[in-house]
Symmetry: C2
Subunit: 190 residues, 2 copies
């Protein structure tokens, strides 16, 4: 038993992220969580969640990728729709059993460690479909990213603490140090 859980995202190819955000964010009112360079897809992607799905604005960053050729041939527009499935291997077996043409006969590891596979539009009535299964790897990769971010924030915090300490020392040197006892100063000694 395999099933589709939800629409994960709808990917829209654009030729200019900022220009596209003028409509999708400023006029339509979607929130942007982040804009990310995705070198292995030769693109920059803006992520705009809505409900349990996302709109992804994709701008090609090279001239010879599939999405770049798509943009030049057909202009901006919806490129593909991605469905989250509970078991991508089982889904691909079932699709093969129904003689559906697959771009990826086996799942490939996509951004964030998720398993993905594309289905050919020839078999789907003109719609390029991405299937996606959340893997145990994906939360781990997200956790690693969060830890990196925490490390950066901590490092920045130490810079701030050093500046505060320098400021306090400056005050002490001006003779105003009497307002600060050792306890307070101790808070900024790293």
């Amino acid at each position: 038993m395999t099933f589709v859980i939800r629409i994960d995202h709808v990917a829209i190819i654009v030729d200019d992220i900022d220009h596209a955000l003028n409509f999708w964010r400023d006029a339509l009112g979607l929130e942007v969580t982040h804009v990310e360079d995705v070198p292995d897809q030769e693109s920059v992607v803006a992520f705009l969640p809505t409900g349990e799905s996302e709109v992804e604005l994709v701008k090609p960053t090279t001239d010879d990728s599939g999405i770049s050729r798509y943009l030049h041939k057909r202009g901006p527009g919806i490129h593909h729709i991605c469905f989250q499935v509970d078991d991508i291997e089982a889904a691909l077996v079932k699709l093969r059993d129904h003689n559906v043409r697959l771009i990826n006969p086996e799942p490939v590891i996509g951004t964030g460690g998720k398993k993905i596979a594309f289905v050919h539009p020839e078999s789907t009535h003109g719609v390029l479909i991405e299937l996606y299964e959340l893997t145990p790897l994906e939360p781990e990769i997200r956790l690693a990213r969060a830890r990196e971010l925490a490390d950066r924030v901590r490092a920045q915090g130490q810079v701030v603490a050093a500046n505060v300490l320098s400021f306090l020392r400056g005050l002490r040197d001006t003779g105003l140090g009497e307002f600060f006892d050792d306890d307070v100063r101790g808070d900024y000694e790293t």
Copy 2:
């Protein structure tokens, strides 16, 4: 303050509903809730919910509608994406303020009494967008439909009951009526 709540549906134009269901239902595994003739959109639509959204397979039923011309010009594929918004009038005002070209400058009443408006792809980077606001009317219309269905089921039930009664009377006439007392027979008297 206005905002987009979720993707309501993605509409895919197809030239044959049964053929399309071979992929979308049988191979991909989406459920079909119903297939509906929508005369005012000159189409037949199959509804396949997934998560909080739906895939809608749309087959033109006339030769001169917009979707029919779209099908002949571009072939089957994604036609539009529909977002539910909390306040469609406010959304249209905001879009106009951002010089977005609207196909429907004012909301129109769509299937089921909901308010809808289309945004021109020229302003959205190639994506035909439908906005949709659930109105108090829509649940009422759905309730009316549910009541019609209940009436039909009740009418069918009365046919079944009449058949059962006829069967019981047949049994009684054969002399086997002793197995059925008045209470049981009373259950089938309508």
